[in-house]
Amino acid sequence: MDFDYNDDQKALKEEARRFLTNVAPLSAVRAVYDAPELGHDAALWQRVAREQGWCGTAIPEEYGGLGLGYVELCALAEELGRALTPVPFGPTVYQFAESLLLAGSEAQKQAVLPQVAAGELVGTLAVTEGPGVPSAAGISTRFADGRLTGAKLPVTDGMAADRAVVLAQDGTGLSLFLVDLRGEGVTVGPLSVLDPSRGGARVTFADAPAERLGKAGEGLALLARTDDRAAVLYAFEQLGGADRCLEMARDYALERYAFGRPIGSYQAIKHKLADVFVKNSIARANAYYGAWALSADAPELPVAAASAHIAGAAAYWLASKENIQTHGGIGVTWEADCQLFYRRSRHLALIMGSPRLWKRRLIDRIETREASRAEQISKGAAA
């Protein structure tokens, strides 16, 4: 039994917190709000990706990464989420790099992953085209003769991205394709989004050169596996943000007086924040389980990932809204930092499908797991 960060991982996490406290104050997030067409802080990205080399944390050494492991990446995700760091880390590392690791050919991995690890390449996924869960009926982007045509939105960090993994029709069903967003036939335009520091874009392809990623017709299956891995990592970002909201609310409740007492001495506030603490504890426990399943590549990953995402989204939602409520009127002003977390909590909850979708997936997966356990037991009994 070893269900926590180990000492090295704790040290990495503390170091990351120190670094981000210095270089990524919330004023950096606000600066991106003021220039939303950028969608991220390019100078900060250089420091996180090139100077610190965090993008290569879990990428194997053979592809230019550090090969440290996924628990280390989870520790960094928690800190990045806590700091609301306005850089394209999640789409590049949790989604783009993971989809290459899962689906890429050896040549594709050799060509792309070292650039990601070195912090020289921003990547993202371009999947959805309209509301609704991605399905064959809802995707009209087409691949033919090595070229891609269609439009994708919203694409997180689409403005910053150099490459994208794109879901498209190719006659065999839905498949994944790797596209150079800086190349010919690609137009990228900004979208106004809930969290301007996680910039969204509309990406349009008009006969843009693309190469196949993974087997034909397996697009949705590969995407589902990528989503599970990314869900665990985003759960840590949500956890970090939720913890920060609780600390903000606690600190404010100690310094704000009403009726001659700190508002934090009223049970109406104390019990509210105790509820947030419990929700955050549950999110942490589920996130750790996800980290274990991800790092061990355990068969529990589909259930653990869904649980981590559901618990993380629920905790961040509660913590971010009750942080505003605890702050009172000042909490709903543009000037107060509460809104930054409220916006980010919804961004992270929705970006890979809503919690409602993940709840449906979770129960489907539990049923599958229980059926296979029952089958094993009956096989055992027969033998």
């Binding site: 001495s265 426990a285 589920n286 709840k359 129960i363």
Partner: protein
């Protein structure tokens, strides 16, 4: 991050699993689920199991040898408890004494008379109960009014206790009294151990809304206790309360019983509205939320175990476990009855679905939110001890106990 046992833990688990299989008690021809808790035949099975554990060195695994334990680690004790639970052999009768009261007693008393109480309790030959709460001292656990007045080498006790779990079958009790009403309330308390057959001590079971009667009122009328049965110093009672209550919350937080697997089975088996509830998206969404919370509570205990296994003091992470589990149990049973529809009202007999187990738990769940610290007290504890928020203003803090307003 690793959910597997370490090699040493795995070896220990394999050893105790085999030992439990070899030494499991005889259920006297009954099926395990057939015997109700707090009945004599059920208690006898529990007693036999406790004796077997004592003989095998598994009764108080993490107690020091000189106190009658096995000198093992807390991790070993936890592994044994998990395996015991899996084998359906985790009984409550001896927990109050062995996990809460006697460890506290041994911390304050080292005299031979006190120490002689331990071996029979370890063997399950004696059962202990807690005599702390009173009609006007529940959440306000220092508000005790039962008085102890010195008379030579003895104390004379008068007062009333309530919510005393297992007092009806207990041999001994840990009794909290007020020995000095002229000082503020936390300072005038003193603890004693008492034999439950002492003259003047009367136990009256309380019929609960679930129909169970394991909780009692205990009336004390001119009960005489020798000073040698005092636990800790005169006026040290609050320290004894703190030492025991922390253990109680840990024990209640452990959870167990009906869960997601049981309600999934019910949701498949019942006809439902336009098909089984298991096919209803609204129910599936509810189940996902419930599952994530339940798993969270289970996983939090792994975080606590990890701290113990690293030789560290567990953090506050599991403080919310009891609070959430009690509410989860209430939600689960309410949903289960909803799934049964109009048949949910039948709570007993051949027509009751599943023998009425969900109905029984439904009626028992409100008590979980009160026992061992109410929801409200648990939230105060989290807010004050973990988040560092200020305590409520206390109008009774520096006032002599006898001058505190009483109300009802």
């Amino acid at each position: 991050m690793n959910l597997e046992d370490s090699p040493a833990e795995a070896a220990y688990r394999a050893k105790v699993r085999a030992w439990i299989a070899d030494n499991a008690p005889d259920w006297g021809g009954h099926a395990k689920d057939e015997l109700r808790v707090w009945t004599e035949p059920h208690k006898q099975v529990a007693h036999a199991w406790q004796r077997a554990k004592a003989d095998g060195g598994y009764a108080c695994i993490n107690w020091p040898v000189e106190q009658g334990g096995s000198g093992g680690t807390t991790i070993e004790a936890s592994i044994f408890a998990q395996e015991e639970l899996n084998a359906g052999l985790r009984f409550t009768y001896f927990m109050t004494g062995l996990e809460m009261l006697l460890p506290a007693l041994l911390r304050f008393n080292t005299d031979p008379l006190s120490r002689a109480l331990v071996p029979p309790a370890v063997r399950g030959d004696t059962i202990w109960c807690q005599l702390f709460s009173e009609p006007s001292s529940g959440s306000d656990s220092a508000g005790i009014r039962t008085s102890a007045v010195p008379d030579g080498d003895e104390w004379v006790i008068n007062g009333q206790k309530v919510w005393n779990s297992g007092a009806q079958i207990s041999d001994y009790g840990m009794l909290m009294t007020r020995t000095d009403p002229s000082v503020p309330k936390h300072k005038g308390l003193t603890a004693f151990w008492v034999k439950m057959d002492t003259p003047g001590l009367e136990v009256r079971p309380i019929m609960m809304m679930s129909g169970d009667a394991e909780l009692n009122e205990v009336f004390l009328t001119d009960v005489r206790i020798p000073d040698a049965q005092r636990v800790g110093g005169v006026g040290d009672g609050w320290k004894v309360i703190i030492a025991t209550l922390m253990n109680e919350r840990a024990a209640i937080g452990a959870g167990g019983g009906l869960g997601w697997a049981e309600i999934m089975k019910l949701a498949r088996d019942m006809p439902g509205i336009d098909g089984p509830a298991m096919e209803d998206p609204a129910f599936r969404e509810w189940l996902a939320d419930w599952y994530v919370n339940a798993e969270g509570i289970r996983l939090l205990s792994f975080q606590t175990l990890t701290s113990l296994s690293r030789g560290q003091t567990p953090g506050p992470e599991s403080s919310g476990g009891k609070l959430l589990w009690a509410n989860q149990t209430q939600d689960l049973t309410s949903m289960a009855l909803d799934i049964m529809g109009h048949f949910g009202v039948i709570d007993h007999g051949d027509d009751a679905i599943g023998g009425g187990a969900f109905q029984h738990r439904f009626l028992w769940a409100p008590g979980l939110r009160l026992g061992g610290g109410s929801d409200e007290i648990m939230k105060n504890i989290i807010a004050e001890r973990i988040l560092g928020l200020p305590g409520d203003p206390r109008v009774d803090k520096d006032v002599a106990f006898k001058d505190i307003p009483k109300g009802r």
